[in-house]
């Protein structure tokens, strides 16, 4: 099989965001290796600057428009991937803002923290553009392996160890199962390119091994997006991990999981929706109900946010169950949901981090009477929570509205039933979000200590950014909808 080798042409403009982040990572490692211990605080600034710098080529690429295909179709830069790359970069930047004081004050390894964070973000960016099984796999591992270490960052705390080890074992097992599915898919088609797999599996007669491959792949990504029944790691990992890392896992890592799921399932099986739709229907229903019902009886705010995140994943799974009829509208509604979910959830975690600087606890009781001594934080938290619940003037309502619209547009039994279930669950969710707000506003401060909370500048910035975005997305939804209008995944594959 010795064929002549032809050097692929490389579009450096299209690769620029990834190259900038890789270069920043290299600089971080060198700076970390050659500076004394006291000078580590520069690390977070360099990392943040690198992420913002990487946004520049994303913007120029978006202005330029068009689709850039590289490496024989394994790496594609289009609206879909650009929107997601932007999302990952911005949420990565907010996570760095959240981490700054938390990591600097806590006697943790500072340099390595930002290196791993950047490596994970790089993996997510590659995932957004990957259209090939090998690239998807490498991107998935690049984003997961640093995340396992970050979850166990407080290494002398047994809870953080538990978070790390549970996340690691579940994650590695899931990716092994996923790989087995991928190997079956490769065996059936003889190619790793998703578009070629799609055309080869397009016929009427699908080998039953393909169904097996689909199930393995959905199970593998189900762990990543914490879909029920593969969610068991999520609450423990979220509670035990350092809170900024929890925010990162709950937002960026989950978004990357959804991206991978959409890319592989609709890249490889755009014509086999009859197989995947029932699977997603069942997953979405189970995820919504289990997430919301268990969240109702949580007493720890971080753990409650973890279960609420599971429920939100259920809402995002719902449009996938009707993707066959509505096509790219499903992908767009999920993108919108991911963006709005990222802003409001990062905001909620930012407030939790800020408040626990004084209370040193994530328990619901420690939030009692927050409005008395930190009115700003309490109001911000209430807005994020009501946005998560989907109350109109805030961003969350538009995200939910998009999901409803897609489900109803499908005009099928599956769509209508899911729309009703999403509605029922939104009402259930309102209870536990409102309970936190009630505790903050109505209850008395537990120990009568009314000294104000010292909120550092970086946390203030993070809360302001997320709060402004949450409100703007709610009032001017056409902004976020305009970004995703041209984001297509399904129609990119030609029907044979």
């Amino acid at each position: 099989m010795l064929l002549g080798f032809e050097a692929p042409s490389i579009d450096f403009h299209a690769l620029a965001p990834e190259i900038v982040v890789t270069a920043t990572l290299a600089v971080l490692i060198l700076v970390d290796a050659f500076t004394p211990k006291q000078a580590k605080s520069a690390q977070s600034s360099i990392a943040g600057l690198g992420l913002l710098l990487a946004l520049v080529p994303v913007v120029t690429l978006a202005v330029d428009g068009g689709t850039r295909v590289m490496f024989e179709g394994a790496f594609v830069v289009d609206t879909f991937s650009l929107v997601l790359t932007g999302l990952f970069l911005v949420s990565g930047y907010v996570v760095i803002l959240l981490s700054q004081t938390y990591i600097a004050e806590g006697d943790y390894w500072e340099g390595e923290y930002y290196q791993l964070l950047l490596a994970s973000i790089l993996g997510m960016m590659v995932m957004a553009s990957a259209r090939d099984l090998i690239t998807v796999f490498i991107a998935l591992e690049l984003l997961s392996i640093p995340a396992y270490m970050l979850a166990a960052w407080r290494k002398r705390d047994l809870r953080s160890d538990e978070a790390g080890i549970k996340y690691y074992l579940m994650g590695v097992f899931a990716s092994a199962v996923l790989l087995y599915g991928m190997s079956l898919l490769y065996g059936l088609t003889g190619t790793t390119m998703l578009s070629e797999i799609a055309t080869k599996l397009a016929g009427e007669d699908v080998p039953s091994a393909a169904v097996l491959a689909i199930v393995f792949i959905v199970v593998g990504f189900g762990f990543k997006v914490s879909a029920v029944p593969f969610h068991t790691w999520a609450p423990d990992t979220y509670e035990g991990a350092p809170t900024p890392v929890t925010a990162f896992l709950a937002v960026a890592s989950k978004a990357a999981g959804f991206v991978a799921l959409m890319i592989v399932v609709f890249g490889a099986f755009p014509f086999r929706v009859d197989i995947v739709e029932p699977l997603f229907w069942a997953l979405a229903v189970a995820t919504m109900f289990v997430g919301n019902l268990i969240a109702l009886r949580q007493t720890n705010v971080v753990r409650m946010l973890a279960y609420s995140g599971i429920a939100q994943a259920g809402y995002m799974l719902a449009p996938l169950a009707v993707a066959g009829t509505v096509g790219d509208a499903a992908v767009q509604s999920i993108l919108i949901y991911l963006m709005i979910y990222a802003t409001m959830n990062l905001g909620a975690f930012a407030v939790v981090i800020a408040a626990s600087r004084k209370t040193r606890s994530g328990e619901l009781t420690s939030f009692a009477g927050l409005v008395r001594y930190a009115p700003g934080l309490a109001v911000a938290m209430a807005m994020f929570l009501f946005s998560l619940a989907g109350i109109p003037p805030l961003g969350g309502w538009f995200a939910k509205f998009g999901i409803f619209k897609t489900l109803v547009e499908a005009d099928s039994a599956a769509g209508y039933s899911l729309a009703i279930i999403v509605g029922v669950n939104s009402v259930i969710a309102l209870f536990y979000y409102a309970r936190v707000a009630k505790t903050m506003i109505m209850d008395d401060v537990p120990d009568g200590d009314l000294s104000p909370v010292q909120v550092p500048v970086s946390l203030r910035a993070a809360i302001s950014i997320t709060l402004v975005l949450t409100v703007v997305f709610g009032i001017l939804p056409q902004l976020v909808a305009g970004l995703t209008d041209n984001a297509t995944l399904l129609s990119a594959v030609a029907v044979p």
Binding site: A7, I29, L30, D32, G187, L188, P207, S208
Partner: protein, 151 residues
């Protein structure tokens, strides 16, 4: 060819004697999911069989009191063991072994390149230099963090 490969899994056709009737009994949809069901069944069955065999074969450990403790020790006669079976080793062994494994495994990417060095030309050379430079970055980090000093 592939139909043959997976014919064993496509149990419907082989287990029922009348293949023509089979195609009518099961809808296509169910036939596809049958594979998943069989695979799941085999996976759970295998676990059950393994645990079952182990349960039958192993000596029962139900006795209480002195016997219980006797069972737990390394030798049921002779000198009683002292302390735990775990011994502490220098953590440096672990770090060295780990670094070796990581850098060793990266060689799988260099060998295929080395085999066709001339075909890949300048392009391949530059790519490999970038790859090795990034790896070297890891080595520089390890050296600066003083993990490569023995004792």
């Amino acid at each position: 060819m592939l139909a043959q490969v997976f014919s064993a899994v496509d149990a419907c056709a082989s287990t029922t004697a009348d293949t023509a009737a089979c195609g009518q009994t099961y809808s296509d949809f169910l036939r596809q999911w049958l594979t998943v069901a069989i695979f799941t069944g085999v996976a759970f069955g295998m676990g059950a069989v393994m645990l079952g065999i182990a349960a039958v074969l192993r000596p029962s450990n139900k006795r209480t009191g002195a016997y219980q403790n006797q069972k737990r020790i390394g030798y049921e006669s002779g000198v009683d063991p002292v302390g735990s079976g775990w011994t502490q080793t220098q953590v440096r062994y672990y770090i060295f072994a780990l670094l070796f494994v990581l850098f060793d495994v990266e060689a799988v990417f260099i060998f295929p390149w080395a085999m066709r060095l001339e075909d890949y030309g300048t392009f391949g050379l530059i790519e490999m230099l970038i790859f090795i430079a990034l790896l070297a970055l890891g080595l520089v980090y390890a050296v600066r963090k003083k993990v490569l000093q023995w004792l």
